[in-house]
Symmetry: none
Subunit: 236 residues, 2 copies
Amino acid sequence: FAEVTKIANDDYVGFTFFVGCMAMMAASAFFFLSMNNFDRKWKTSILVSGLITFIAAVHYWYMRDYWGAIGESPTFFRYVDWVLTVPLMCVEFYLILRVAGAKKSLMWRLIFLSVIMLVTGYLGEAVYIDQAWLWGLISGIAYFIIVYDIWLGSAKKLAVQAGGSVLKAHKMLCWFVLVGWAIYPIGYMAGTPGWYEGIFGGLAMDVIYNIGDAINKIGFGLVVYGAAVASQEKSA
Amino acid sequence: FAEVTKIANDDYVGFTFFVGCMAMMAASAFFFLSMNNFDRKWKTSILVSGLITFIAAVHYWYMRDYWGAIGESPTFFRYVDWVLTVPLMCVEFYLILRVAGAKKSLMWRLIFLSVIMLVTGYLGEAVYIDQAWLWGLISGIAYFIIVYDIWLGSAKKLAVQAGGSVLKAHKMLCWFVLVGWAIYPIGYMAGTPGWYEGIFGGLAMDVIYNIGDAINKIGFGLVVYGAAVASQEKSA
Ligand SMILES: CC1=C(/C=C/C(C)=C/C=C/C(C)=C/C=O)C(C)(C)CCC1
Ligand SMILES: CC1=C(/C=C/C(C)=C/C=C/C(C)=C/C=O)C(C)(C)CCC1
């Protein structure tokens, strides 16, 4: 038997950690087991989708237990998770645009920006909490550059060039980054004392982050999956 | 529920152990799941890349918990890990050069040298700490012979003979050994009392080693993966 702790029926944070953990595991199984239905060009993209949810599944496992045992926000694990999965999402952008001739430099640029965004976010959220606004600002700037790059910059041009299911997938992923990722700064503000804490109530931050993760990690992967299906059907 | 320990938000050593552990797991999944996309010549190389990161994932799991529970450098586990993974990297060199007619004797020579390097390094770091300089010196000599062998010795000749993606991969791996592996003697010096301890501060040694491992194990594997992709695309 596994060790068991009682969970309060109205522990919604705990509930979303459990649901999130299982959803990530199921999504990983789905991506890993279906990747071989596709040709090589798409296989790697779907494998990376699976890695993203797999990494998240492991961290949700920790976070769930951490929450159950200690009852605090597992900020540490969240950022360990993000610092691995967000760069992998940047890889995903590159993989999709590779057919249109995307260069590795685009990938490294996005990865670099995302790491800046997350490291400064961590410093503001967990280490230099008094300067949360400053670190959040730097983080936000990096975030906006990413948004600009994929919506209007070189990535956009490549997607238009490729057209078809690549363009469609790119556009969807762009929306994820603009709307889905924007959930996180909201969570950050909800978790920063003296900000909008009152509106959401301190603990809701974790619920916000958990919903964001489910949308962004699983949804992002499903868009890639859908693009692969569409491109396969057209060529069949 | 897993046993949970609290981790301080500014415990950067702990942070790199966690990120390292998860990155190694994800990399293993990536190599294992993608190896079947390649033809036989490359399949084994990618499998070995996966073994290297898998071995590391298990040891990072131990080291992470050791650090969390005891708060000391897990030198013991580190060398257990290296003594398995570094010889496997030597196997990787051999596998890549096999097409050019590399002999098994080259592989055994590199393996032998790497074991000397690591056993003497362990003696200096963990057992005869007072003679750290002597053991470090012997270890360093073995390291330099490895560098010489692959950069200028017989391995080099074979790589030039093979040309193409083999030569390119070999050159990249050579850079890993020269620059990436050089991170470890720096960590050794940072961890040896009375040396450059002051510059880095005692504990930074583990951060240095962890960054080195991520670069060398995952990066090394990705170079092999990239070579396999390149050679496949050319022949397709
Ligand atoms: C802009 C901004 C942030 C952005 C975080 C983002 C965009 C995280 C994305 C995470 C994803 C996509 C994870 C899952 O898969 C922080 C760090 C909260 C700090 C405040 C400013
Ligand atoms: C030269 C030298 C060392 C070299 C260690 C190396 C080169 C380790 C490489 C490890 C790798 C590549 C591991 C991971 O994959 C020691 C033992 C620190 C002792 C001091 C002298």
